[in-house]
Symmetry: C2
Subunit: 163 residues, 2 copies
């Protein structure tokens, strides 16, 4: 099974593609999409959408996994989170790839065994699980890879979106 994790945003978007073969998880690809910071928001969303769509097209994941977010740091931040999420969900939906969502706590639990793990601990476990040698690789897309790993370990809200 091939899973693509996405860590959405409007300034930087992480993605990670993982194959699950039996109990083994294999890193297929990962990276970060960084639209030019001086671009307008619509132009950045366009870049993000086009690049995410191209990753989905290239790797044909069976599932896209994203973080289920309940709140940002304030309203403005929550709106930004929504804008990024909208583009990520659309890039999967337009290719008819089902979307699964996991809370941050579940992602931390699935990767480190501790729902309150730090970002650093998650990164380290992502590198260990996927046998990533280059620490920068994990750095770039650790959150996205962690969500993909979480999907491999757990069954989540696939297709189960409700407002």
């Amino acid at each position: 099974m091939r899973i693509m994790g996405i860590d959405p945003g409007t300034r930087s978007v992480g993605y990670g593609v993982v194959d699950k073969e039996g109990s083994r998880l294999i890193l297929v690809a990962c990276g970060t999409i960084r639209p030019r910071p001086k671009e307008t928001l619509p132009a950045r969303l366009k870049t993000i959408f086009e690049e995410l769509s191209s990753v989905v097209r290239e790797y044909s994941p069976e599932v896209v996994a994203v973080e289920d977010v309940f709140a940002g740091k304030g309203s403005k931040s929550s709106i930004k989170i929504g804008e990024g999420r909208g583009i990520a969900l659309l890039s999967a939906a337009l290719k008819d790839v089902p979307v699964a969502e996991y809370t941050a706590t579940k992602v931390k639990m699935a990767t480190t065994g501790n729902g309150h793990a730090t970002k650093e601990q998650v990164k380290k476990m992502v590198s260990t699980i996927l046998r990533i040698q280059d620490s920068r690789t994990a750095e770039d897309a650790a959150d996205a890879l962690a969500i993909a790993i979480c999907h491999c370990h757990r069954s989540g809200k696939t297709h189960g979106f409700e407002d």
Copy 2:
């Protein structure tokens, strides 16, 4: 000049296309996109994106105008607003149509002369300004038409997005 106003959402999206000829405003088209309520969020975003893109393609607006939103009623609502906005902005950006944003207060001011006007007052003025006979027409897309009218009256933050 042809302006398309969008009132974004994840359950219902209003749009309205207006031509400005001299000081005269002419209704070109308006409507509401309503994805099936039982669909998943990604599926609804897909429907909204495809229908908005088709309206942009059909009417070729020179500008798309949307409401500049600062806060929803709580974090969850703000995230939903962002998801809807992301799709609306993308549908313009992918066709290289510039986007202008206006606050609700400016939209009310431009249509009724009162920044604190009620929804009902805005709807009534939209019908008067665009000489709409059928009250249901205005009902469906009044907010989107009001934003388009606002762009005709004011110069706003076109291309001026900042996080």
